[in-house]
């Protein structure tokens, strides 16, 4: 029997969504202050208006339930699932007012892309975008990369009476510290420290290559946020190619790798427990997977007429591999080169790398190394059980924050999410093909959207078909929540609208 939402549940869900919407009005202060500092008066008026709209909307939602209550699991799932789309709708308002989008749906697409750290953009004329609007895009990356719930919890927005249900509903499993609020604050602190350090280094490089100090600082900050949060938005339309700097590319590669490692492992390294880091199943899977795929990619690229040169292969190829596996979406080649100059083998390898993604508990998307590792371990279990006598009990373990056994429940969860990812990749590809695009392009784009990678061959652009745009929007949303939470929410909403079966016949008897 499916759980239904009652009116009481709707009021509580509305109340907590109102809390998050009010938080977004607070976060709009960042681009507003940027606009005032840079004397961009038109964007300033837009952000001021959006602040007012979010204050009204958030307050109105909070009126649905005056007293605060503890969330149960179903309510937490709904709040988490709906918060991404509700906040994206609010975030799209100033983007649409900027005049760089054809319609509100395009702005909503970028809002979802920013919050889910996909990084694909339909924005027109990015090079003439105001500093305030650019700042807002990267604020979305920062908030979305950490997680809306994580940020809200770290600010104590949900009060003291909050359980782990919200945290877990956002596909977060790592517990850095026993207290959830302390965990979220630690995650935010780690992120800020890394971003500040990276900003300083990249700023120096940008000034060295001839940029103005203000532009150098702002673009460095945005690159650092996008790199560590594995977002993919770039300040200029040429992405990382714009800077023609090997130094910046190296720093960004380091950031992307750091961003794709679990926050728990970050905390372990900071505590000095490096052995835990190297024994972890995700790190080992990452090492094997990256080594194999880089070899395959390099071998395939070596047959290309234009990228067979060693320096070109190393610089362009390695960067693209790291950008793909971390699901960041930075490009140091053009989309045209990706489609025409890369060999089909290299192209397909990149697609597979994006599909698997990074580590669980990081800012990366994709199927995740932990699931791939667990599925590989379960294959080992099956083989051992086949070879072992009937009376033998086979146990295979792995290291992930301690020693754990490969149990049927863990394998079931990994296989379920793995299957859902594959199905979504296929559905997105079929929708792209149905809209007339080449199969390889459609598959690549579908994988990029679902894994929140954001690399694009050009299908995602202004004027794309509305049906395809909505499909990709759903894929980004589903990929960020890793399907289960979103599917559960959709089923509960549908069931809630279905009328209950009347048992009149039985009552008469």
């Amino acid at each position: 029997m499916w759980q239904r939402f009652s009116l009481y549940d709707v009021r509580i869900i509305g109340h907590y969504l109102g809390v998050l919407v009010l938080f977004s009005s607070f976060s709009l202060l960042v681009p507003l202050l940027t606009a005032f500092a840079c004397q961009e008066w038109v964007p300033a008026s837009h952000y001021f208006l959006t602040m007012g709209i979010t204050l009204i909307l958030g307050s109105a939602l909070r009126f649905l339930r005056i007293d605060s209550v503890r969330l149960n699991r179903q309510q937490a799932l709904a709040v988490t699932g709906l918060s991404w789309i509700v906040l994206a709708c609010v975030a799209a308002i100033p983007l649409y007012l900027s005049g760089h989008y054809e319609n509100y749906l395009d702005a909503l697409f970028d809002g979802v892309s920013g919050l889910t750290t996909t990084g694909a953009s339909i924005l027109q004329d990015l090079d003439h975008l105001s500093y305030a609007d650019n700042m807002w895009r990267f604020v979305m990356h920062f908030v979305g990369g950490l997680g809306l719930i994580v940020v809200a919890l770290s600010f104590g927005l949900f009060g003291k009476r909050v359980g782990t249900s919200l945290y877990s509903a956002e596909a977060r499993s790592e517990h850095v510290l026993p207290n959830i609020v302390q965990t979220t604050r630690t995650l935010a602190r780690i992120s800020l420290i890394i971003i500040v350090l990276a900003t300083a280094v990249i700023s120096l490089i940008c000034i060295f290559i001839g940029m103005e100090p203000l532009r150098a600082f702002l673009q460095s900050l945005w690159l650092a946020i996008s790199g560590f949060m594995t977002g993919g938005f770039a300040p200029m339309s040429n992405s990382v190619m714009y800077y023609h700097s090997l130094g910046i590319e190296v720093v960004l590669m380091v950031l992307m790798v750091l961003g794709s490692i679990s926050f728990v492992l970050h905390a372990e390294i900071w505590k000095g427990k490096t052995s835990t880091f190297f024994r972890d199943i995700e790190i080992r899977t990452l090492g094997v997977w990256l080594a194999v795929m880089t070899l395959v990619f390099t071998a395939s690229l070596a047959t290309s007429l234009h990228f067979s040169d060693l320096s070109a292969m190393l610089r362009r190829g390695l960067f693209m591999v790291i950008s793909a596996f971390s699901t960041t979406g930075y490009q140091n080649i053009t989309s045209n080169q990706l489609a025409t100059v890369f060999t089909s083998g290299a192209f397909f390898t990149l697609t597979m790398i994006m599909a698997v993604g990074g580590s669980a508990g990081s800012t990366s998307g994709g199927i995740k190394f932990s699931r791939v590792g667990i599925i590989a371990k379960s294959i080992a279990v099956n083989i051992k059980e086949t070879l072992a006598p009937d009376s033998a009990r086979v146990a295979v373990g792995y290291n992930h924050m301690g020693r754990r056994l490969v149990s049927p429940e863990i394998v079931k969860e990994a296989m379920t999410v793995f299957t859902l990812y594959i199905i979504t990749y296929a559905i997105g590809a079929l929708v792209g093909i149905a809209h007339g695009y080449e199969a390889t392009q459609a598959i690549f784009e579908s994988v990029a959207m679902t894994s929140n990678a954001g690399l694009s061959l050009g299908i995602v652009s202004s004027g794309m078909p509305v049906g395809l745009e909505l499909t990709y929007l759903f894929q980004m949303w589903a990929g960020r929540l890793e399907f289960v939470a979103l599917l559960a929410l959709i089923i509960e909403v549908v069931v809630s609208f279905k009328p209950r079966n009347l048992r009149l016949g039985k009552a008469r008897r």
Binding site: E40, I53, D127, Y243, Q337
Partner: protein
């Protein structure tokens, strides 16, 4: 025309020279074919020779005819020489001459193309000389801080195209750019002619144009935002309303406790 007129006079002169008498029929062919039928007439060759040698008995006709004949021949020769000289000077202007021996061999073609086309180019344009027009945007990035080259990004003038191309050019050329496009600024519009590389071997596979000639088409423009108080009124009203609602909410919550 001059040659035709000269030939006509020559023919008339020859005709008179063959006839040798006043009142004879002007037709040279009749004269040539009907010589024996005319009383006192002589064979045309003899007559022509006698005419050419200026024989007695036909002085009134021979001398002017001879002079005319000689004049025509000279005129014809002069005209022919002049025409050959004229042809040599303007040979390629002649519409009916498809070969110009003075054209130098050139293996590259110049494609006057758009930035959008180049952003979607395949190997067809690779290593070809292209010419594009675009707006300089962003910054001048030094290719080598101690060197003489830099990177400029040219954006398509059609903003909906969302296309741009990277140009590798001399710093001296780039110094002529008065502004770079960004918010509130329209950058200098340039025409760049150079060699397009789909994946430049000199620059680790980057897609770029190595500029050979840069021309300024239009100077940049500044259009900064002006502060308009009325633009902030809707925001102020909505913020005030939102804060009021929030205050009411917290008041109601306090009363319930």
């Amino acid at each position: 025309m001059i040659a035709l007129a000269a030939f006509r006079r020559l023919a008339q002169g020859i005709c008179r020279a063959f006839q040798g008498a006043r009142g004879a029929q002007p037709s040279a062919f009749r004269s040539a074919s009907g010589i024996q039928g005319v009383q006192g007439a002589q064979p045309p060759v003899a007559w022509g020779a006698r005419a050419a040698s200026g024989c007695r008995g036909a002085q009134d006709v021979r001398t002017p005819a001879f002079r005319m004949l000689a004049g025509c021949i000279v005129l014809f020769l002069l005209t022919t020489c002049a025409m050959q000289t004229a042809f040599a000077a303007t040979g390629s202007d002649r519409e009916d001459n498809s070969v110009n021996p003075h054209q130098l061999p050139d293996s590259s073609f110049i494609y006057d193309t758009s930035i959008l086309d180049l952003s979607q180019a395949d190997s067809y344009y690779n290593n070809q000389t292209v010419q594009v027009v675009g707006e300089a945007i962003g910054d001048r990035i030094d290719a080598d801080p101690a060197g003489e080259h830099c990177w400029i990004v040219l954006a398509s003038l059609d903003k909906s195209a969302n296309a741009n191309i990277t140009v590798y050019m001399d710093k001296a050329e780039a110094a002529r750019i008065d502004s770079f496009g960004k918010y509130g600024t329209t950058g200098t519009v340039l025409r760049v002619r150079g060699t397009f590389h789909l994946a430049c071997t000199e620059h680790d596979g980057l897609s770029d144009i190595h500029a050979e000639q840069v021309s300024l088409i239009e100077a940049g423009k500044q259009s900064p935002d002006s502060f308009d108080t009325s633009a902030f009124i809707p925001g102020a009203v909505s913020v005030a309303l939102g804060l009021a609602m929030l205050a009411v909410f917290y008041l109601m919550r306090e009363r319930r406790r």
